[in-house]
Symmetry: C2
Subunit: 231 residues, 2 copies
């Protein structure tokens, strides 16, 4: 959790300051989900209080977070739901698709490949990779599994932005190296292993075992921390 960051010069420039705190970035997707729900219910505006309830945080945090995007609320009224969704998507870079490659087609990799949600959310699965001879050539969700040697070509061809590591931990670092060499811009790592990559490549680690162990700690303790998320 170190490292600074800064916004790219994307679109409008009404943001007061180009830097959005890490904790805020991690909550924007949660707000977005709530806002989309509100939009589907035809709610034109929402107050920080309502949005906070839906996101499981408090209203002060919502206002503070949203203030980093600019001033899109109206005092006495609330925030324009549609406008806010648009601005959050702009900031998060969701205005364009980010194709992903899944490396490793064991149980988890197959489940990810078959999970329709990726496509719907702007992260289409563009390629599958596995080194095992009995996996190469097979198809999952309509995509053929390729050998790692094809990785760079596929990344270039499909403009793949995200590499998803779903291999055993023992292979994670090697795969990470291959993904970086192939040109992916970010990595989502499901393997139980810390991977080292260049500082320019953001990595998110999702580790089942870690999550369960954290729960184990808090469930034996009197007071639980509420709703921790992946960050």
């Amino acid at each position: 959790m170190s490292g600074g960051q800064q916004n790219s010069p994307n679109g409008t420039g009404s943001r007061p300051n180009g830097r959005i705190p890490e904790a805020t970035v991690a909550r924007l997707p949660v707000y977005r989900r709530a806002l989309i729900e509100l939009a589907e219910a035809r709610r034109p505006t929402v107050s920080s209080e309502q949005l906070a309830d839906m996101a499981g945080v408090n209203a002060a945090k919502v206002r503070k977070d949203l203030s980093h995007l600019g001033s899109y609320g109206t005092r006495g009224v609330g925030y324009d739901v549609q406008l806010l969704v648009y601005q959050i998507e702009l900031v998060l870079g969701l205005h364009r698709d980010s194709p992903v490659v899944i490396v490793g087609l064991g149980n988890l990799g197959q489940a990810l490949a078959n999970y329709g949600g990726f496509q719907a959310r702007g992260f289409p699965v563009a390629a599958l990779i596995d080194a095992a001879p009995d996996k190469v050539g097979r198809s999952f969700a309509g995509l053929v599994v390729h050998h790692p040697r094809d990785l760079a070509g596929l990344v270039a061809e499909h403009q793949i932005a995200v590499g998803i590591i779903a291999t055993p931990s023992s292979a994670a670092q090697l795969v990470a190296d291959q993904l970086v060499a192939a040109g992916v811009r970010s990595i989502l790592n499901f393997a139980s292993a810390v991977i080292a990559v260049p500082a320019s490549i953001p990595v998110r680690q999702v580790d089942l075992a870690t999550e369960l162990q954290i729960l184990s700690f808090y469930q034996q303790a009197p007071l639980a921390p509420s709703q921790s998320a992946a960050s």
Copy 2:
């Protein structure tokens, strides 16, 4: 990320202060994994510098984190690998199994059921639940899928501690309510939905879509934050 916590009176009392910071708790599983690797390589001791490298953090953080467990290092030498694993497991409550129930046997639920790692890590899958008539009665990984009405009985029978939600988001809150009513002590939520539970029940949210969106933000920005984890 609110809430206080405190250690249960588990075993030894050599801990200087009963409260371990949330950020430290989230890193203990990472240190543990590195230490187990060292133990397998027959390394008797490790310095904070080495451990930091393996865990992807800096040495000061390692020393600060470990100081919350007590003094298990030796100046000029380092930390006793075996002893440290033991102490971390004691603090995290890993000295006993925590059976889990998986609710929802779609792609992800099936992958989780078939994932052998749970058993090996002290979180044996003790029961499977799904409401769909075409799922109830089927078997995955040697376990029969039960109807939600059997949940409370199964939790009691197998002393299930953790409920894993792998249903569509629309069902997440209902399932969470059922899990709490059935008596699970903590919840791991894979659904893309914020769930409300009593403050005494720790919840960890693992959300694919959120992770990808966070990556989307940082991959368009000049500097990436290194190795963010699910917490």
